[in-house]
Amino acid sequence: MSTWHPMRLLVVALPALFLALTPETARADRQVIQNRTYRMQHEFTLEGGVLPLDVLYKAGTVTGRYTFHFNDFLAWEALSLTYAPMTDISILNLGFGPFRFNHFTQQGNDLQDNHGYDTFDVDQLRLFAESNLVLKPLYGKFSFFNRANARVELFGVLGGAVANFIAYRAWPFQPEENIGTVPPLPATAADIFPKPGQTLLIRPGVNFGGGTRLYVGEHFSVRLDARSYTFLEGYTTPKAPVPRELPEIPVGFTQVLYLGVGTSLSFGGGL
């Protein structure tokens, strides 16, 4: 007697799902739209966004993305690069008199002004790259006050990312102290890993999110993105769990929320 394994379902279901997601396999009378007006194959996106979650700073970002669309429902965001320039040039404190304008919050400024910390003591996201699978199940049209149509798409993304941080007690080395020098090789095996409380300069992570796109023309669209990233920050010494709080795991994560608005140029994907 053969045993049934969930993997079998996966083996059967995955190609079936892919087929189901391939628009060409659908019978005309099962379809909803016969000749979708807006389609894309290569998409280049430029976005402006913000990282609003951190308590010490709120950074503005610029993002470039390239996405390859397999069909109307499935795409691969091959590479996205996001840069938060303010975190790199935070010395730029614009202002006059009592006013200051920089990307730090009141707390972030407090730390530097009143508690003797340096700008680069604040753990900040500087740059990250990501690659995502994009699922675009919903394509719709809205009647705009019965006068015009708005074509809209909703999508979800899931993928991996890697980020460069201006780290607090950075591991493997303090960037500003080591400019122009070669970092020493680790002397022992333990030196390969950060010490408890040290945080990584390069942090791998996963992310998920969603967004919406408004088609403006054949090659042009406007999009809104929201994504949540979890980056591996470092590790700490294990502690006993506290009631009403998530049990503390000895590995630390940096939660990053990204919200952005952008425009896309797209080519190909015609009928």
Partner: protein, 242 residues
């Protein structure tokens, strides 16, 4: 040792407002020019205009909704929220969300501890939101439909809302205005899915007048900005007479 860290949001508190503006812009009409099958052959410009005229699917009077959501914007904790709402749909354009109640299960983010560990700093305002009641006016100006995997149709409407809210924090009551936007997908006559985003501006008391321009720019100290993202199901009953 401890620094008095007051508002955790400072000037970023208005961010959700900008997001709402973006959401409104999102509804801007497509500029794709109307192409009729006749266009290339018809030199009498714009002689023919074709439209699709359909009836709105959503014609029920009462909506009972259950949602799950988050209050994500506070760096110290994430609120996982369960919400129940009752909405009276007065017409195709207007509705009144008579009452909504939310309860937040708060999960600490560890930031407080991290701040203490790293910088030796403590927050003075560590109150957390527990429950929130609200009442809103809803405007539903934009209606449309989505093709789901090009197999099924979900009729959808976008809505904007504004109203008042009263929240219970761990040690205080905080009232204030709120606004938001959302979208509702009609799966069946009686069932819909919805997603919405709301921004609550809550006071813990009447703020004192600002004493200096810097004070003014930093905003009232007692203000808490709460952003909510949620989604859930709506049960619709009782046909609304036309």
């Amino acid at each position: 040792m401890s620094a008095a860290l007051r508002s955790r949001f400072g000037r970023w508190g208005m961010l959700p407002g900008w997001l709402l503006c973006a959401a409104v812009l999102w509804c801007a009409p497509s500029t794709a020019s109307a192409v009729t099958p006749w266009s290339p052959y018809d030199d009498e410009e714009q002689t023919l205009k074709a439209e699709v005229v359909q009836q709105r699917r959503f014609g029920k009077l009462h909506e009972f909704s259950l949602s799950g959501g988050v209050y994500p914007l506070d760096a110290l904790y994430t609120g996982v929220v369960g919400t129940f709402r009752y909405v009276l749909h007065l017409s195709d354009l207007w509705a009144w969300e008579i009452a909504g109640g939310s309860y937040s299960f708060n999960i600490t983010s560890g930031v407080e501890k991290r701040m203490l560990d790293r910088y030796g700093l403590q927050f003075t305002d560590t109150e957390r939101i527990l429950a929130l009641g609200e009442s809103n006016v809803i405007l539903k100006p934009i209606y449309g439909k989505f093709a789901v995997f090009n197999r099924w149709i979900w009729y959808a409407e976008l809505y904007l809302l504004a109203g008042v809210a009263l929240s219970r924090y761990s040690a205080s009551w905080r009232p204030g205005p709120d606004y938001g936007a959302g979208i509702r997908f009609h799966l069946f006559d009686w069932l819909a899915l919805h997603m919405d985003a709301r921004h609550y501006i809550l006071w813990s008391g009447i703020p004192p007048p600002p004493r200096s321009p810097a004070d003014f720019l930093q905003g009232p100290a007692t203000l808490s900005n709460v952003v909510y993202f949620g989604s859930g199901v709506s049960f619709l009953v009782w046909d609304r007479s036309p």
